[in-house]
Symmetry: C2
Subunit: 480 residues, 2 copies
């Protein structure tokens, strides 16, 4: 990062506005050039045009890659591609790493093989591995050929780990030292570097065969007497380290819990093979929580807000299809009670209340349980305790809110028994919601499934069909 | 952190299991002691009991405060308080900082003024400020008296900033140097420290009056010739810095975007008054996303999963109450069409489909728009473009899915016109959902409100009532 890259955080919005401004002016001029046919003006307008483009280019050259990525994401497709063309080719790689998947796709589509190869060649092996799934195979092949054997090995390794593993997040930029040298020697060794890898807060102490012996924090290196040996100030094993097959989510939680900046990644033989940094952990945490929020609303992935209608439809259709099926089932449950509704039309007006409140209450329960499970804090042994608590909440809410609605139904339709059926149906549907909210995630865990995926769909489907069935069933039994 | 604190990440689960194990054994013995009245056995059982307690205590002494916090959160109240009593008093403060708000309350309730004071006195000013809202006023008063004047000033400052500001997150542990000294002098200065503040990756270069002149990264300090002066290797202003009134969310995004480890916090005169670290940023990101996920399900705050029924009811009632009101309104919309339903009971079975799918589709749109707004990537100027896209998606889905449902309705009830009404109502409700999904957050932003809060409730209320109205209205017009 050059000094120009560092700014006050508010400034990224400022950057965006400036770029939009320049684009607007640029467009205006371009519009004039096209509309007017007077050749005399051409030259002047072309000059003005060129001047704006140069200004924009200068502005972009000054920006941090992450800021350019932010601006690209915020621009509609035509403006985005115009700006992308102005970005210096040697910065393409790092910017592609920063943009969201959807925007990355839109940028890569416009680049030819040659440009993509040039962009890829500016990246490290671990960065290349992140980008690889979006690149055409022939580009990857070419880039692979251009790497030296160590980088090839790293790229092969990085690409071999599943997406949510530590191996997929790690980089290969670590500084290692031996334990039998003095700190003075380490200090002299570091002075031979032109720069240290980002987020170097500790050096990894290894033996001749790269086995992890411990860590030497820069803090210890700086505050200790340089005459001391590394072995005297290092923190010995066991230190916090990860294996490439470890779950990335757990590693990110460990970074958060222990306030880590970097940590070694070791293989089964305790050989240091890579490094995980807090930047990777933060990115992972952000992506994970975004994924959860989007999944909740049935969005498959982060959407480029300026995506085409067709791309948006594709991103959203799966959830709508599921929803269609569950809504249809609920509708058939109602259909089975059409005779009852014909006799007492008030049922049609009241039934969505029972279903809706059951759905919301069930979502509260399942959200809480799924979160607690994700944090690893719920064992199967706690099931009965949780069930008891949720059932208690359901009975309370059923009597209080169900009672209130029962009174309203009585008041609206002048029937005490209709009010009582309403209260009973509310309570029963809340009980169904509470039980399912606790049991569905627990059962899915036992079956080895991710309890978060579609939990909201499942519980809503159940409380909708269940709510209709309970309410209309009770009404048929007691009112008709 | 002592060496014992650092473990493989999986181990926190392991720790939890071990503690639960010890607790189970402990309970068994305690049960025996209480149940049996034979005095002869008392001594032996007491010994076994004591041995288990000692083992548990030893285990706890070895654990990182964050791990103890994790275990406390995962234990039911009685076991939680038993473990809490075994934790060494001098560690109470740091553990209270790590546990969730709900669990912190449950722990503080059991501590007397004296214990709370002792715990609070082990903390730094910025940590105290975090804990203060949960402490009784007399404890804060006492602790305040025991601070020296600098710490008092820091505590006063930290407590004066609103919760979501940089000021509330910052700490006061910074190392500053002057620019006119050599790196050799800086290195000697650092060797006088017993330890450096956590997350020190740079020193802040200041003048005599603490005005920020630039930063000296540990990297530059380590790789540069010690004969050089600080001014020759430091990065000069402007560097990334924050002001205490800055939005914490934007600061956290800046940490993520620029991969920062620490950054200075300066006042309006550019005087360094504190420091923000990546650990604070990570905690903030995690809390923010948790808050969003919980708010989505209508949970006011993170819930202690072993909370009492009453605490759970309190945490959830607000959303249920709102939901009750919106469901009641939707029910009255249906009530207005009771005549139509009486004549054509199929309407009762089909209407929840129209409402439900509109709700889900609206939630997809609003979730995407709210997220894009939160990232600062949607300007009011993009409104028409987004509206056009969402309307396009709605028309597409209305024709495809609505058409499918129309065919199903035709097939079920043998009425082409009922099918056509179904398709038309679906399309119109999806259009309502798309328009509201774009406009509601944009209007709320213009009114200065947070577009995220209750966005899901609002859109669902609108698409429920609207869906019923559109479907039953169209049916009344064209079918009866």
């Amino acid at each position: 990062m050059t000094p120009e890259d560092e700014r006050h955080p508010d400034d990224v919005q400022q950057h965006l506005r400036e770029v939009q401004d320049l684009l607007a002016r640029h467009k205006l001029v371009e519009g004039l050039v096209h509309r007017q046919d007077m050749p005399r003006h051409d030259l002047v307008e072309n000059l003005v045009h060129k001047q704006h483009v140069a200004e924009l280019q200068h502005k972009l050259d000054e920006l941090h890659p992450a800021d350019i990525a932010y601006i690209l994401e915020a621009l509609p497709l035509d403006e985005r591609l115009f700006v992308w063309d102005l970005v210096k080719a040697e910065r393409d790689g790092e910017i592609l790493l920063e943009v969201s998947d959807a925007v990355r796709e839109s940028l890569i589509e416009t680049m030819d093989t040659h440009e993509l190869k040039a962009a890829a060649e500016t990246l490290d092996a671990d960065e290349l591995a992140d980008l690889a799934p979006d690149l055409p195979p022939e580009v990857i092949q070419d880039v692979f050929q251009s790497l030296d054997s160590e980088e090839r090995e790293q790229l092969r390794a990085a690409m071999s780990y599943p997406e949510d593993s530590v191996g997929a997040l790690m980089d290969f930029d670590m500084v290692t030292v031996r334990e039998d040298v003095t700190l003075e020697v380490v200090l002299r060794y570091l002075r031979r570097f032109e720069e240290l890898p980002d987020h170097t807060d500790k050096l990894f102490v290894v033996d001749r065969d790269d086995h992890l012996k411990g860590i030497l924090t820069l803090e210890k290196l700086l505050i200790s007497d340089p005459e001391l040996e590394v072995s005297e100030v290092m923190r010995r094993e066991p230190v916090i380290s990860f294996q490439p097959d470890d779950d990335a989510s757990e590693a990110a939680q460990a970074f958060e819990r222990y306030d880590l900046v970097s940590a070694p990644v070791i293989d089964a033989d305790k050989r240091v093979i890579g490094r995980l940094t807090v930047a990777d952990a933060v990115d992972f945490i952000r992506e994970e929580s975004e994924h959860e929020i989007l999944a909740h609303a049935g969005l498959r992935e982060e959407e480029d807000i300026f995506a085409s209608v067709w791309d948006s439809v594709k991103n959203r259709w799966a959830w709508l299809a599921v929803n269609l099926v569950t809504a249809f089932i609920a509708s058939r449950v109602i259909g089975a009670f059409e005779n009852s509704i014909e006799k007492l039309v008030a049922l049609a007006a009241l039934m969505p209340i029972v279903a809706g409140i059951g759905g919301n209450s069930g979502n509260q329960t399942i959200t809480m349980i799924v979160r607690a499970i994700a944090m690893g804090q719920v064992e199967q042994s706690a099931r009965n305790r949780l069930l008891k608590k949720e059932v208690g909440v359901a009975v309370f809410n059923g009597i209080v809110w169900g009672g209130l609605l029962g009174v309203l139904a009585w008041w609206l339709y002048g029937s005490v028994s209709l009010g009582l059926v309403m209260t009973a149906a509310m309570t029963l549907n809340l009980l169904l919601a509470a039980t399912a909210g606790v049991l569905i995630p627990m059962i899915r865990i036992r079956l080895g499934a991710d309890p978060a995926i579609g939990s909201s769909v499942l519980i809503t489907a159940l409380t909708d069909s269940g709510g209709f069935f309970i309410f209309l069933g009770l009404a048929t039994l007691f009112l008709l």
